[in-house]
């Protein structure tokens, strides 16, 4: 039965992809991209990847789309037709696709439990996580402990993006009252936003600390946290939302998350372990794992939240005219 849902979702994805190719209005393309991302997130749920689904929805359908919209607001909406007939690209794409399909022929079948990928390293994670790490969510345990170094790299990547956007777009804090605050028609949105804002932040904390037991973790929490502020900015204007977090604090937060992560690693070195060996952080190895995972997840959340906000503010404050997205 799940096969049916699976096939239908894939078909819908193809439809959305086709629509993205054909549509000329970039705002519409951004909407379709958001749909594409949301559909793939649903597919991830069907395929048991709940953590990934959460992240894809928050990052792909949420933040990426909002950034695309912000970029479109700063540029233009219409796409011109290409000057040349795209024969060469078509050829390249068909050749690449044919190569990939050729490569699938010897792959293990979809869902095959005997596939080598499910036989070699993964069973260790599933078996050892309850005893060695002591948390039920295996994705979190692999992400934050077994392969925590990748996650450090990932935080560094997002930090790089933040630095890059700062370097490219700058960061111009808005002074108050430079924009029209008296939009009567926003009143419903404002009431709802005011109602939701604290709930969203609370929910972000839940996702952060519940990540050991269910889908969630530092990234998702950071993004949800930032989304709360973005909603606030949409309803009340940029300057009002920037009153909530001074931009100097955002810099400090973006750097602090990476530093927390790195320093946990250094600390475990100083305590006689290897880099990021959490066992040495407490007397009991499992407690050490808990402490380490909690610390680094918090670090991740802080950096991600700060960087997403820096990027968003960077785009939106680029706009000279009053009014923000």
């Amino acid at each position: 039965m799940e096969h049916l849902i699976n096939i239908v979702l894939l078909g819908l994805l193809m439809l959305a992809g086709f629509a993205i190719v054909r549509t000329k209005s970039l705002l519409a393309v951004a909407m379709l991209t958001s749909i594409y991302s949301l559909l793939s997130a649903s597919l991830f749920v069907v395929l048991d990847a709940v953590d990934v689904a959460l992240t894809e929805a928050a990052i792909g359908a949420g933040i990426s789309t909002i950034l695309m919209l912000a970029a479109i607001a700063l540029t233009s909406d219409e796409e011109k037709a290409p000057r040349h007939t795209p024969l060469l690209p078509l050829f390249v794409v068909i050749a690449t696709g044919a190569a990939l399909i050729y490569g699938t022929l010897d792959m293990p079948r979809f869902g095959d439990p005997a596939a080598p990928a499910h036989r070699h390293v993964a069973p260790t994670y599933l078996q050892d996580t309850p005893t060695a790490i002591g948390i039920p969510n295996v994705v979190t345990s692999v992400l934050a402990s077994y392969r925590s170094y990748d996650t450090l790299g990932e935080v560094t990547v997002i930090f790089t993006a933040g630095t890059g956007v700062l370097a490219l777009l700058g960061f111009r804090p808005r002074r108050r009252n430079t924009e029209d605050t008296g939009r009567k028609k926003l009143v419903i949105l404002r009431v709802v936003a005011k109602l939701f804002f604290p709930l969203i932040l609370l929910f972000a904390l839940y996702v952060l600390f519940h990540g050991d037991y269910g889908p969630g973790g530092g990234f998702q929490a950071g993004v949800i946290f930032a989304t709360g502020f973005i909603l606030y900015a949409l309803a009340f204007g940029l300057s009002n939302s920037q009153q909530l977090i001074p931009h100097q604090l955002l810099y400090v937060m973006a750097a602090a998350g990476v530093l927390i992560y790195g320093l946990v690693g250094i600390a475990s070195m100083l305590l006689g372990g290897k880099f990021l060996e959490y066992q040495v952080l407490a007397n009991d190895p499992v407690t050490g794992q808990h402490v380490g995972i909690l610390l680094i997840e918090t670090g991740v959340a802080i950096t991600v939240a700060a960087v997403v906000l820096i990027i968003y503010y960077g785009f939106v404050s680029r706009r000279p005219a009053p009014g923000d997205i």
């Binding site: 028609k185 419903i188 949105l189 709802v192 109602l195 939701f196």
Partner: protein, 105 residues
Amino acid sequence: MIGLAFDILSWVSLLIGAIFLLVGAIGVLRFPDFYSRLHAVSVSDTMGTALILVGLMIQGGLSMVTVKLLLMFYFMIFTGPTAVHALAEAAIEGNVKPFARKTGQ
């Protein structure tokens, strides 16, 4: 016995909810102009959503799942109409004209 009654109740609720969703979607696809389509959306946004969530809540029983569903219900009952309202307003501002029957249309 009670369990069966609850099951039937939830199934009925889910089924009616699904019908509302389908009707709304057909409306979105088939209605002739933007504002009437918006009307169709609100059918699935309110009744469809509510009934499906209620059906699931009955299935969930008294547990954390139901609390989450309630929270979702709360969220959706606010966001749906707000979004639709904002949409309608933006459309009016963007000068989308209501449908008027013209010859040949």
